[in-house]
Amino acid sequence: MSKPKFLGKSIWVFHLNTGSCNGCDIEVLDVLTPYHDAERFGVKLVVSPRHADAALLTGPITIESLPKVLRAIEAMPRPRIIIALGSCACGGNIWHSSYSVIGGVPELLKILDERGIEVDGVYYVPGCPVRPESIVYAVGLIKGLVPKKIKPKVKKVGG
C-alpha cells in the first residue's frame, strides 16, 4: 500500500467527461448519494480544475475533447493525479481503434509526456459502467485504506 503522502488528505476531484456515454457519470453521482456516500472519505466534486487534486476522466478521450483535457490538467496545481474511470478511459473500450478517439488514458499519458505536463499518479478503475462500490473501493485504495487486490498474471504453458 504505497501511496503519495498528499493523497491521505481529502481529495478534491474535477470531473471531466471526455466523450463518455454518461453511464460512468451517472455512477459518479450515485457514489455521492447518501447510500454510498463517498463524501465520508472527503471526496468532493469541484467546479474548477484549479481547486482539484485529481482529474476524474470518463470516456475514451475524443480528439475534439483532447485540448480541453490538456488545458484542465495543466491548470491543476501540483501534486495532481488522474483517475481513469470505466473501460473507456482505461483502454478505449469498443472505440479503442476508432478514428475519432485517442484511446484512453494510456495514450493520453504519452501525449502529456510529449508536452512536458507532469502527473504524479494515475489510477485505473475498470468496469462498464463502473460499479459504485468499485469507485468507493478506488477511493479507499487512493487513500490507502484497502489493499490492492488485482495482480498481473503471466503463465507459460506447454503442449
Binding site: P34, Y35, H36, D37, R40, S87, C90, G91, G92, N93, I94, H96, S97, G104, P106, G121, V122, Y123, Y124, V125, P126, G127, C128, R131, E133, S134, V136, Y137, A138, G140, L141, L145, V146, K148, K149, I150, K151, P152, K153, V154, K155, K156, V157, G158, G159
Partner: protein, 179 residues
C-alpha cells in the same frame, strides 16, 4: 419560543436531526463490510491456463478486443486479456470450446499500475515436421486429434506444407505435373 419560530431560527437544524433519527442510517459501510453482489453479477473473467488451447474463439467473440492473440517474435502465441478494456459481457465464456474461461464476481479492480490489468497466457507453438515453421499451438493440435482422430497424420504440418502435399497427391494420381 414557539415551535414555529424554532423552525425559522438558527435552531432549525434540530428538526433535521429529529427526522434523521427517525429514518436511521442508510449509508453502506462498504470498504469495511461485504459488498452487495448478486448471483447474476458479471465480473472479471478467469482463464484457466491448464485448459486453454489458444484457439482464439474468445478473441473472435470479444466485442472490445479485450482478449487478443499475439504472435511474439520467437513464434510463441500468447493470449492477452486486458481487464481495462473488458465490458464484462461474458461472451467468451459461451464460446470457449474447452470451458477454460470462468466468470468471477470480482469487481474490485482499481489499481495504480496498468500492468496489473493484464493476464497473459503464453502457448508453445506447433512445429511443422517438414519445413520446421512454427504455427498454431501444440495444445490445439492435440485437441483437434481428440475430436477427430483422422487428422492425426497431417496435424503437425503447417498450412503451406498441407497444401503442397495435397497438390503432390493429385499429381501422383493423374500422372501429370501441376506447375
Amino acid at each position: 419560543m414557539s415551535l414555529k419560530n424554532i423552525r425559522r431560527s438558527r435552531l432549525g437544524f434540530l428538526r433535521a436531526l429529529v427526522i434523521a433519527g427517525r429514518s436511521g442510517r442508510v449509508t453502506r459501510r462498504y470498504p469495511y463490510e461485504e459488498p452487495l453482489v448478486t448471483s447474476d453479477f458479471r465480473g472479471k473473467i478467469d482463464i484457466d491456463e491448464t485448459k486453454c488451447i489458444g484457439c482464439g474463439a474468445c478473441v473472435n467473440a470479444c466485442p472490445p478486443n479485450a482478449l487478443e492473440l499475439i504472435n511474439t517474435r520467437d513464434g510463441y502465441v500468447s493470449l492477452r486479456y486486458f481487464v481495462g478494456r473488458c465490458i464484462f459481457c461474458w461472451r467468451c465464456i459461451d464460446v470457449c470450446p474447452t470451458g477454460a474461461i470462468k466468470g468471477t464476481r470480482e469487481f474490485e479492480l482499481a489499481t495504480n499500475d496498468i500492468s496489473d490489468l493484464y493476464d497473459i497466457i503464453v502457448h508453445e507453438p506447433n512445429k511443422c515436421r517438414e519445413c520446421g515453421k512454427l504455427f498454431s499451438t501444440k495444445r490445439m493440435g492435440d485437441y483437434v486429434v481428440t475430436k477427430s482422430p483422422l487428422v492425426e497424420n497431417y496435424v503437425d504440418l503447417d498450412p503451406d506444407c498441407r497444401k503442397s502435399r495435397f497438390l503432390r497427391a493429385i499429381e501422383n494420381r493423374f500422372g501429370g505435373g501441376i506447375e
